[in-house]
Symmetry: C2
């Protein structure tokens, strides 16, 4: 602690992302990155944006990328907000909409960044407990709140809520903004984007880091009715007028446009996930049914933290969360078929 930090800074417990080690080469199944490279069109598009114009500020409105996203999802440009990864979009959304006078609601097992945002922006929160199967009990969101956030699929469980359940939450909370964090939606879940036209309180957040293979480019976006997007713009324009650089804008636009490649890679990941899940079940694991590019697994006879360590020694990184209810689970990102075969072999060697 430093005397120069203000009280909020002193109280923070920052988010800790999955490790990005540089000491040796690992099979990285710990940060839900996509095993497939981005579309070749991304590189072409970025190359065109390199050059003399880098001396000029980017378009602060990101118009071309917003037009591309609007067309893709059959929305209006005014319904699209861009940010430096979905984490920045989430932070801005917490700042813009959530009411510090009332508790905000999110699941007790969820993306651990939400608690960090709440602490930074001095928001109270009330945790909605998942049931034993890690399902989200929809009716528990019927209580006074200053805002709601739910990842769909949830992380780190990979479990999805159906669209009717989310509609019920939206109906019961018409004075609160309900954020659905769809970072992993492209791997099998059903997006609630079609509900935007009916619910002015719905904000959907997505990212290009997962299903578009662009974690290294930092692009995320929010979708919602104009009023919500205008609010996000106010906050963004009170922090940083240009959050996306020229190269990120160019690359992201190309990624959204290459639908064929997107479909091909996401389907490969889904197929790999289903194959690996079945193999792990055969090996005695409990595998939570996942609609994400990761699986959440537990073994009745083998402690998760031990397995985590032993996999690490074999050069395979997965994610372990030392937290109640999930401390005997591992989150394993879906890598390429070769990577997952190595993973299965390593697990087999460890558990015997």
């Amino acid at each position: 602690m430093s005397k120069f930090w203000n009280q909020t800074t002193k109280n923070l417990q920052p988010y800790v992302p999955g490790e990005q080690p540089r000491d040796r080469k690992y099979i990285k199944l710990n940060t839900n990155e996509n095993p497939y490279p981005p579309s070749l069109k991304v590189a072409e598009s970025i190359k065109k944006a390199i050059g003399e114009t880098l001396r000029l500020y980017p378009d602060p409105t990101g118009m071309e990328l917003r037009q591309t996203i609007a067309q893709y999802y059959d929305l209006e440009v005014e319904q699209i907000f861009l940010g430096n990864g979905s984490d920045e979009v989430l932070a801005f959304a917490f700042m813009t909409f959530f009411d510090p006078e009332k508790p905000i609601l999110f699941p007790n097992i969820t993306y651990s960044f939400y608690k960090v945002y709440a602490s930074l922006f001095q928001l109270n929160y009330h945790l909605i407990p998942l049931d034993e199967q890690f399902s989200i009990p929809v009716e528990l969101f019927n209580r006074e709140n200053g805002g709601i956030i739910i990842p769909n699929p949830n992380a780190p469980t990979g479990k999805c809520l159906d669209i009717q359940s989310i509609r019920r939450i939206l109906e019961k909370n018409q004075n609160s903004v309900v954020i659905i964090d769809e970072a992993y939606i492209d791997f099998g879940g059903q997006s609630v984007i079609p509900l935007i036209k009916d619910y002015p309180n719905l904000l959907v957040i997505q990212t290009l880091s997962k299903s578009r293979s662009l974690a290294g480019l930092r692009v995320g976006f929010a979708l919602g009715q104009d009023e919500l997007i205008q609010g996000l713009d106010r906050v963004k324009n009170s922090i940083n007028s240009y959050t996306l650089d020229r190269l990120a804008l160019a690359g992201a636009t190309a990624a959204i446009q290459d639908e064929a490649y997107f479909q091909e890679t996401r389907k490969k990941i889904i197929a790999t996930r289903e194959r690996i899940s079945a193999d792990l079940v055969d090996m005695g694991f409990q595998v939570i049914p996942s609609q994400a590019n990761f699986i959440f697994i537990s073994h009745p006879r083998y402690q998760a933290d031990l397995l985590f360590q032993q996999l690490r020694e074999k050069g395979i990184l997965v994610r372990y969360f030392n937290a109640p209810q999930i401390d005997n689970y591992l989150r394993v990102s879906i890598g390429s078929d070769e990577e997952m075969t190595c993973f299965l072999q390593a697990v087999q060697e460890i558990i015997g």
Copy 2:
């Protein structure tokens, strides 16, 4: 206003950057961009970073770029904080250090984003009035405060404080963080970076948008003793673990390394500034002595807002601020020699 915005969002008056029009081709002297393209090594370095690895998150610590900056300024890696442009770094610094219980201090004529940050983070501020020559009265900073921020050179005036004056402010405010915003320091001012070793309360913020010709890449940084940098890291890691993408990190590193090109272009801009300033004085303008890549000018017989409009009609964009004490001034970025000759001709035609 929307019922979904929280009270802070409703109260915001966001920053308005200089316009980036797309309706016709302008000579852009309105956003202090560099007229010269970035170093050719920037493009080379970015091209190497495009490809398969874009699927992976960037290094959240930005180690290579921080090592390059540390070496350049003879500092330690632990004394460097990176951000998405110096605006983001400024926002994080306001959040990290400034005390909402006491007024923060900054000049009454200065970078207009500071008031916006104060409003967003609910900080009180007390404005230090500049004298009639737009000089900053150092002794007025001797009062209780929750933090101090001063741009050096100041914007939009271009005027510099000498290092001894800043040292006096640091001495008198040893319990407050004093931020020196050196966005424009490379155009003739004397940096206070050498004071960092003596003053744990000093944070220096710089950007690659101006003197490194990389406004389109969004890279800024802060320099200070470890405790300050650790505080910034806490806040950043509570918002967005990866604020710089792989391409920005690669390009910025190459830009810092190309010292010869940096010296060549900054000296050209300084030479152009001096020539244009002299010509404008000959034409009857008052030109505030500038150490930045812009000049702040006023004409005794010609209203600034009118001149602004007429220059715009002639395809030349400059910046006009409709604010007390400066509403008869124009801020004119220093473009290339050709651009500035066009500017002078246009001014001559208008004022006759």
